[in-house]
Amino acid sequence: MKKITVSGLKYRYPLTEELALKGLSFEIEKGEFIGIIGQNLSGKSTLCQALMGLVPHFYKGGYGGSVWVDGLEVGKAEIHEIAQKVGLVFQNPFTQVSGSKMTVFEELAFGLENLGVAREDMAPRIEHAMELLGIGRFRDRNPFDLSGGQMQRMAIASVIAMEPEIIVLDEPTSQLDPQGAEDVFQAIEALSRRGMTVIMAEHKIEKIARYSDRVLLLHQGEMVAFDTPQQVFSRDDLERYGVVPPVFAQVCKGMGIRNPATGLYPMTLDEACDQVVNWHE
């Protein structure tokens, strides 16, 4: 069964004239890792919010078409129903923090309390999420005394503790150092392998090429492409949409190297390495 089905989704923010989303239609399978890319204002964040219902329930505005997640119609369901299926990690962790909790541990409990999780079930879920994101040593720290990178890890852990079937992340590693970002991508990939559906808006194109099963390219509220990273990043018209292919694909394109089996440019470090080593002009 399809985990997410979006049909003709249109959305306009209040007090604006132009549609932010102009009729998107696509389907996502359970356990897929989907990367959403596009230049700023292309609709990435709006789409993330439409998948978990902040669009339209919180922002209001004009809405058309439908979004179904796991048998629930987002536009008509209550936000508390949607929240049991879909978790959203905000772009800016500072705006996600509840502000009502004094420690990191309690902040992770906030979502679980609202879901009505039994007290004895909370602690193991919180411990697991803290361990996954490497923030166990900050458990007693006030959330607002964390650095940007630590707060971002906490924001992700808060949503993972809720064990949503679908997790939507909006640039989740922007404040992390390179290895920290890599750790988070690996943790999220592991969740996806275990069946969690992952949707991530991201500018880190090399990471998207490496980790996502399919890439959804947005431009001015419209879907330009929804295909494998190899297909999307081998397009000749990416520049028009303000997107550059991964560095590894740029090298291969510059050297005229395509994957002999597919005719597409290599996208990842491993793939590019194999092809470049064997290259003879």
Binding site: D177, A181, F248, V251, M255, V277, W279
Partner: protein, 274 residues
């Protein structure tokens, strides 16, 4: 002349938990990136340069002036800081007013402040947006406003905190061009940043902070040629350098063009360039 001199700088928030330990270094006019693991002390270091914090021991000299001898307001004439998130910096409801606020506060006359603000907006490419409300503009544009607000203050030193966060490709290219222009004008541009590819393409000098110390300091190419030490510091070389190293070449290439040129030349060495 050195624009900043740091002498045996030590700092902690609470005794026994040293954040910066015994840092001594100089900054000339070369554009410089500060990279390092989360929690390495980068932001604390920058706050010491702005006088927002005072050293526990040691000295920070800005344009020859000890930060102990000058107020934060006085230092603001010498050092400008562009916030990571423009929404935390911008508070006026008209772009021109926002950009005039800084220069007006450090003693420029209304006419001077206006001229400075217009020139700064011109430089970041927002001259036609001066009458708009910053919050009617995009995040990328607000980032540029936050930069213009500091540029208009004509400080000799400009610090950026994570300038590429939430920026798309076009936004990053614009910021890169602005940093290069400021460096060309002889200003010291210092940047805290996690985007290794952007550092490779933009900054002459790179410092690696780790556990309150400066672990590496040198031309960006040299620093990125030491993958072992970068890994210890939770960093990694730029993607292009990673590929270069993976195919068995030592050292660093910093751009796709350099990589291709090196492969075409059939050498393991990067081409010599400035």
């Amino acid at each position: 002349m050195n624009k900043i001199e740091i002498r045996k700088l030590r700092f902690h928030y609470s005794a026994g938990e040293e954040i910066l330990s015994d840092i001594s270094l100089d900054f000339d006019a070369r554009s410089t990136a500060i990279i390092g693991q989360n929690g390495a002390g980068k932001t604390t270091f920058v706050k010491l340069l702005k006088g927002l914090l005072q050293p526990v021991s040691g000295d920070v000299l800005i344009d020859g002036i000890n930060t102990r001898d000058m107020t934060v307001a006085g230092l603001a004439r010498h050092v400008g800081l562009v916030f990571q998130n423009p929404n935390d910096q911008i508070f006026k409801n008209k772009v021109l007013d926002e950009v005039m606020f800084g220069p007006s506060n450090i003693g420029q006359s209304p006419d001077e402040a206006r001229a400075s603000a217009l020139a700064a907006l011109q430089m970041v490419g927002l001259a036609d947006k001066q009458a708009e409300n910053p919050y009617d503009l995009s995040l990328s544009e607000r980032k540029l406003i936050s930069i213009a607000s500091i540029v208009a203050m004509h400080t000799d030193i400009i610090i950026f905190d994570e300038p590429t966060i939430a920026q798309d490709h076009a936004g990053k290219e614009r910021i890169k061009a602005i940093i290069r222009e400021l460096a060309k004008q002889g200003k010291l541009v210092l940047t805290i940043i996690h985007d290794m590819d952007f550092v490779a393409e933009t900054f002459e000098r790179t410092l690696v902070f780790a556990e309150g110390k400066v672990l590496l300091d040198g031309p960006t190419r040299e620093v990125y040629g030491l993958p072992g030490i970068l890994k210890q510091s939770h960093l990694e070389p730029p993607h292009i350098t990673q590929l270069y190293n993976r195919i068995g070449c030592q050292g660093a290439v910093l751009t796709v063009e350099e990589f291709i040129a090196a492969r075409r030349a059939g050498t393991g060495r990067p081409p010599v360039s400035a």
